[in-house]
């Protein structure tokens, strides 16, 4: 197991594998999202209480799930990077951060658009909303930290420690609706006693969630490839700069 993981973690092997998988994964993503959009906007009925506003759930809930799940995967990658000191783990965490931040942003904006007709306000300082806003700022902090430290190794370690510290916010988000009296409704899909949603609404939600998840995976793979190529470009630049210096030293 560890051995096969290590083989996968070899950058050259990763490039070959991800290059082969990406076109198919991208096609599956496009297909799933098309079916999901059709189910969400056309085939599904309005909710008996919320009417047509329920359609916002099909973009809001998957975004919110991925905001948290994306961060959890990032934290896992950071932990793997810190423990086994593998650059590929750091690169994938770095690649994922803007995607997670974007989904968090979408969860906040679509939630706000849903909140206005349902609660009468675009924003309330409710525990769930506030903890997700904090998550958004943690993502931005992680991204900013990568930008300010120039050396890859140092930046990778510092951002990973930051990312792991930020993970304490995840259980706060998950349980905020149980711990505090929030305006936000409690979980209705991921419950111990099974989903409390009718299948006519659950099906489009799950298809959209699958589509969003595939999109996150595809873009993470793609952006990790870009990141590995950035590292290669940086090392080529370094080589050429050093070669230039030796030539100058010999001539001088």
């Amino acid at each position: 197991m560890a051995k096969s993981l290590q083989r996968f973690a070899n950058p050259a092997r990763f490039m070959a594998l991800s290059g082969a998988v990406l076109p198919w994964a991208a096609a599956a993503t496009a297909l799933t999202l098309s079916v999901g959009l059709y189910l969400a906007l056309v085939a599904s009925p309005p909710d008996y209480q919320q009417g047509e506003t329920v359609r916002m759930m099909y973009v809001h809930v998957p975004s919110a799930w991925l905001a948290s799940a994306g961060y959890a995967s990032m934290a896992l990658a950071c932990a793997v990077g810190l423990i086994w000191r593998h650059p590929l783990a750091f690169a994938s965490a770095k690649a994922m951060a803007p995607l997670g931040a974007a989904f968090t942003f979408l969860a906040l904006v679509t939630g706000s658009l849903w909140g206005k007709p349902m609660w009468g306000a675009y924003w309330v300082w409710d525990a769930r909303l506030t903890s997700v806003l904090v998550l958004f700022f943690i993502y931005l902090g992680y991204i900013a930290l990568w930008e300010v430290i120039e050396d890859f190794g140092r930046a990778a370690r510092a951002t990973s420690v930051f990312c792991l510290a930020g993970a304490v916010n995840l259980p706060v988000i998950r349980f905020s609706v149980d711990w505090w009296n929030t305006l936000h409704q409690p979980a209705s899909v991921a419950r111990l006693d099974g989903p409390a949603i009718h299948s006519s609404i659950l099906t489009p939600l799950l298809v959209m969630a699958l589509g969003f998840t595939l999109l996150l995976l595809v873009l993470t793979l793609f952006r990790t490839r870009t990141e590995i190529m950035e590292r290669r470009a940086a090392s080529l630049e370094m080589q050429q700069a050093q070669a230039g210096m030796t030539v100058r030293a010999q001539n001088g």
């Binding site: 047509e52 916002m56 658009l113 999109l215 873009l219 490839r225 290669r232 470009a233 630049e237």
Partner: protein
């Protein structure tokens, strides 16, 4: 058709929610593809330099 787009009177909330989602996800794709192309071009130039610089 007009009735469909009215979304039971909630058009002002439903359509912007889908609009911003489409905008942000498409934006992520375009941005990621551009970054990929840029680094590909950078590596191509560097490798060409390597070929000429080395005796």
């Amino acid at each position: 058709m007009a009735e469909y787009f009215a979304m039971g009177g909630y058009a002002d909330f439903v359509w912007p929610a889908y609009g911003i989602t489409a905008l942000v996800t498409l934006g992520l794709i375009v941005w990621s593809v551009r970054a990929h192309r840029a680094v590909k071009a950078r590596i191509a130039t560097l490798e060409a330099n390597n070929g000429t610089a080395r005796p």
